[in-house]
């Protein structure tokens, strides 16, 4: 450990001194990785609220059989926009926000490699988000095609569909630029002595995720561009009457869509791999095998896409190949679970809010993983494809997997980012409310799916009523609990207790050991030396 906390005093004078603009222009023109990280996180939270309200509209309509609140057309718009906004507006930007804040600090770099491009990758997002929302006010409203945007239903939609397509193009550009930045930063800007295999696992998972993004986002851009030309320029990529094939769209979409799942979950694995050792006061078990497992999952993610398509009528060899490849992903994923358990084993455990969310993640992500295994089995999936079982499965992965991890990460790093602590009791209340209501919403959906309730329907037969009622009540509870989260964070920022430089006893990455809390505006202008 070299130029450590002794920089401290001199850094503090410098600390709040931002070169250039102040006020709103500071945020618009900023090239500072910490500012940009903050922007990403607040943008993500805003979109989380917008997408959440849409989810509540869906659950309110499904509270009881019959059409009560919205018409079927608007219901479809809700399911579509809830999905797109949560995936591209809430979850992905949240983890890019973490990457911006943490990667430079964890590898001992002064900032991201391409600081101006970093500014642009963020500032594209509000425009993309606005396009998505404006589509509601277009003739015909937002597209009602589901977030997967399957052809040829997309051809029937109004101009809102084109807004959505352009929004996706912009979101894709933003992601690709963000990824190039991350790859370059991690590969070129590590402090002396910070070899790749010494990096905190969070940096590793993001390095791998960035490659996944660079490889898969252009594929999505291709798919939606083909949709656009089919809609307006007379092409027939997905139109059988013109020699195309609607199923081609699905192959292209899921060739993006499956890596996308790992784009979302791998950084979450990284966050968990920082938090569990910190609260176990013990180094991460099997660091090298964690890196290899992450890489294997990433590679496998490119050869499993058609497990989303078992009912399109693939040949038997296709069904079997994609089934075997998919189940294989369980092996590295299980290895990761075991590594986390072994990290806890014989540790010295404490259960602050970040750890609670991390344990909640382990528990619920395992359920999501197991339901994924059931869905991977082509024979069984025939019963479950496009039912609520699938809805339950991916919410266990997306909400309990990615969102819970984002909460864990925010509670964990908030003291470092703001220099202030959140209220631990309220944090725990937030965890337990989220945990209970989450299961209330989604656990029962497994039963609905098994019994055959299709997804994306605004009204349902009577035998599905009980579980839907429970699910809807849970949804409102979960939604309200997130207001508590907002309160906790705002309270911490404005009037939280002062946090220690190394707030968590077991945390050992550079941002905790080498930097004060709050981390100064410019950190590691001279690189630390890592031994």
């Amino acid at each position: 450990m070299s130029a450590v906390l002794d920089d401290h005093g001199h850094d503090h004078g410098h600390d709040d001194h931002h070169h250039g603009y102040s006020g709103i222009m500071r945020w618009i023109t900023t090239t500072n990785h910490k500012d940009i990280g903050t922007l990403y996180l607040w943008f993500s939270f805003t979109m989380f609220m917008v997408g959440g309200v849409m989810a509540l509209v869906i659950r309110a309509e499904l509270f009881t059989p019959g059409l009560q609140i919205v018409n079927p057309d608007f219901f479809n718009q809700m399911t579509t926009m809830h999905g797109l906004i949560m995936v591209f507006g809430a979850i992905m930007p949240a983890f890019v926000g973490f990457a911006n804040w943490l990667i430079p600090m964890q590898i001992g770099a002064p900032d991201m490699a391409f600081a101006r491009m970093n500014n642009w990758s963020f500032w594209l997002l509000p425009f993309a988000g606005a396009l998505l929302i404006i589509s509601f006010f277009m003739p015909g409203g937002a597209p009602g095609v589901g977030w997967t945007m399957y052809a040829p239903l997309t051809v029937q939609m109004g101009i809102g569909m084109d807004f959505t397509i352009f929004a996706i193009h912009i979101l894709g550009m933003s992601s690709i630029m963000g990824s190039i930045n991350i790859v370059t930063t991690v590969l070129n800007m590590r402090a002396p002595g910070m070899t790749l295999m010494k990096m905190p696992l969070f940096c590793w998972t993001w390095l791998i995720t960035a490659y996944l993004l660079i490889a898969s986002m252009p594929v999505l851009a291709g798919a939606v561009t083909m949709t656009l030309t089919d809609r307006h320029f007379g092409t027939s990529f997905f139109n059988a009457a013109g020699g195309g094939d609607p199923v081609l769209y699905q192959h292209i979409f899921w060739f993006f869509g499956h890596p996308e799942v790992y784009i979302i979950i791998l950084p979450a694995f990284g966050v968990i791999s920082q938090i569990i050792p910190a609260f176990s006061r013990k180094p991460l078990f099997g660091y090298a095998s964690m890196v290899y497992a992450t890489a294997s999952i990433a590679i496998l993610s490119f050869i499993v896409w058609a497990h989303h398509m078992y009912t399109v009528g693939m040949p038997v060899t296709g069904q079997l190949f994609f089934m075997y490849a998919t189940t294989l992903i369980a092996v590295p994923t299980a290895a990761k679970m075991f590594n986390w358990l072994a990290t806890m084993w014989r540790g010295s455990l404490t259960f602050e809010t970040p750890m609670l969310f991390a344990l909640g993640f382990l528990f619920l992500f395992a359920i999501g993983g197991f339901s994924g295994l059931v869905l991977a089995l082509a024979a069984v999936d025939i019963q479950l494809q496009d039912t609520y079982y699938v809805v339950a499965h991916f919410h266990y992965v997306m909400v309990a997997g990615a969102l819970f991890t984002a909460f864990a990460g925010i509670y964990f790093w908030l003291p470092k980012w703001t220099g202030r602590m959140y209220n631990e009791t309220l944090g725990k209340v937030h965890f337990w409310l989220s945990m209970i209501f989450f299961n209330m919403i989604f656990f029962v959906q497994h039963f609905l799916g098994l019994a055959g309730m299709p997804r994306r329907i605004p009204d349902y037969p009577l035998q599905f009523e009980t579980w839907n009622k429970i699910s809807s009540i849970g949804a409102f509870g979960f939604g309200l609990s997130q207001l508590l989260f907002l309160y906790i964070v705002v309270k911490a920022i404005t009037s939280g207790e002062k946090a220690a430089d190394k707030q968590w006893e077991g945390a050992d990455s550079l941002e905790w050991t080498h930097l004060p809390s709050p981390a100064p505006y410019h950190s590691f202008e001279t690189p630390p030396v890592v031994k």
Binding site: G66, L67, P72, D73, N76, P139, Y150, L153, Q156, G158, A240, A241, P246, V247, S280, P283, F285, G286, A288, T311, V312, G313, V316, V331, A334, F338, L341, T343, M344, R346, G347, S348, T350, F351, L359, F363, A366, F370, A378, A379, I382, Q383, Q385, D386, I436, M440, F443, F447, L448, A451, G452, P454, R456, I457, D459, P461, L462, Q463, E465, T466
Partner: protein, 382 residues
């Protein structure tokens, strides 16, 4: 407070208390709401047992792994004074916990493979039914085997009043159709699926069957029903506004009953066949047209003719309904590309199209006074 609300509350409390047990129960309980519907084919039975087998393994692994975690949570806490050990790798252990899941997966994959192969084997069928998905109804054509030539359209029979809450909901709410598919028990039925507009998906949980219906392509699946009864399902691929309202009902009957049904259908079809050369009066056409309109057009254009603009335009006062009649007929025959307006040319015969066009041109505020004859429609068909 209704009974259902009371039971929902009870269930809610119960579900909270026993979330985990519920996971275990999902594999074995047989109540309709908990599990797959009771199997009515061999393949559905196989899927049941595969699901139970996999769930049993999952529950054991889940409890094993999280048993270890909870032990650690209780035994290795700092508040108990537990001091952290410092180990961080062990190659043997890591290899063992990579190999064991692999072996378990092979143990799962083997029986599943056999069922996948059985699901895909559509050879040697006794009869073939072509299923066509339309926005938003199903067309059925019996194209091979006993009943060859039977053809009908099947759509939701639940009244709009029940859906919109003006009438009490019936027992088979949203799962009832005007024309049920009838098949004989114990015969291998090959189902060909296709669609006229967007992708739909035809399936029945009780049969363990689900096959997307893809416009421009024909895909197949099959079932051999082992039990007499009526089986209900729904379209499972998002296909637009009324996706939630296109149920699938299959009635499995004995061989004798099936023969009787076939005879009845054939007679009905002969009686219903319209003579496209006949000339009708305006009132006859309007009366017939109203029925056709209610069955095919009302979901989008509405009974009032006001539509749901802008996606579903009004007919009352519309340029097409008041303009040249040929353009109007052609729009109904061929649909309008890039919108939800379907081509009805293949679903409706000349008389029905003539009637519905007449109805649209002479209802609400539209008063053209024109009676379109079937022969005019026939002339415009390509």
């Amino acid at each position: 407070m209704s009974m259902q609300q009371v039971s929902a509350r009870k269930m809610g409390r119960w579900a909270l208390a026993a979330g985990l047990l519920a996971l275990a129960a999902a594999g074995s309980a047989h109540a309709l709401e908990w599990n797959l519907q009771p199997a009515a084919t061999k393949i559905a039975e196989d899927i049941h047992s595969l699901h139970e087998y996999v769930m049993a393994l999952i529950v054991v692994i889940f409890f094993g792994v999280f048993g270890v975690m909870f032990y650690s949570i209780f035994a290795h806490r700092k508040s108990n004074g537990h001091k952290a050990a410092n180990f961080h790798e062990n190659t043997t252990v890591e290899i063992v916990w990579t190999v064991i899941p692999l072996l378990i997966l092979i143990g799962i994959a083997w029986p599943v493979t056999k069922t996948v192969i059985a699901q895909k084997d559509t050879s040697n069928s006794d009869m073939t039914i072509k299923v066509t998905g339309y926005q938003w109804k199903w067309g059925y054509d019996y194209i091979k085997g006993e009943g060859e030539g039977i053809s009908f359209v099947s759509q939701l029979a639940t009244p709009r009043d029940q859906i919109e809450g003006r009438a009490a909901k019936g027992e088979h709410y949203l799962l009832e159709v005007d024309n049920e598919v009838v098949v004989p028990v114990g015969k291998k039925v090959r189902i060909l699926t296709t669609a006229a507009d967007v992708i739909h998906s035809w399936g029945l949980n009780a049969f363990g069957v689900k096959q997307d219906a893809i416009p421009g392509f024909v895909r197949d699946t099959h079932f051999t029903a082992t039990k007499i009864g009526t089986y209900r399902g729904q379209c499972v691929e998002l296909c637009g506004k009324e996706h939630g309202f296109m149920p699938i009902v299959v009635r499995v009957v004995s061989a004798e009953d099936y023969t009787k049904w076939v005879d009845g259908e054939k007679k009905k079809m002969a009686a219903l066949a319209d003579d496209p050369t006949k000339t009708y009066t305006l009132d006859e056409l309007k009366a017939r047209g109203e029925k056709t309109y209610t069955a095919n057009c009302v979901a989008c254009h509405q009974a009032t003719g006001k539509g749901m603009p802008p996606a579903f335009p009004p007919l009352d006062g519309s340029k097409i309904a008041l303009g040249p009649k040929d353009a109007h007929i052609l729009q109904v025959l061929n649909g309008k590309a890039g919108t939800a307006m379907a081509a009805f040319g293949k679903q409706l015969n000349d008389t029905e199209i003539a009637a519905v066009v007449t109805y649209e041109r002479n209802s609400w505020g539209n008063k053209t006074g024109e009676a379109i004859q079937p022969a005019e429609v026939k002339a415009l068909r390509k």
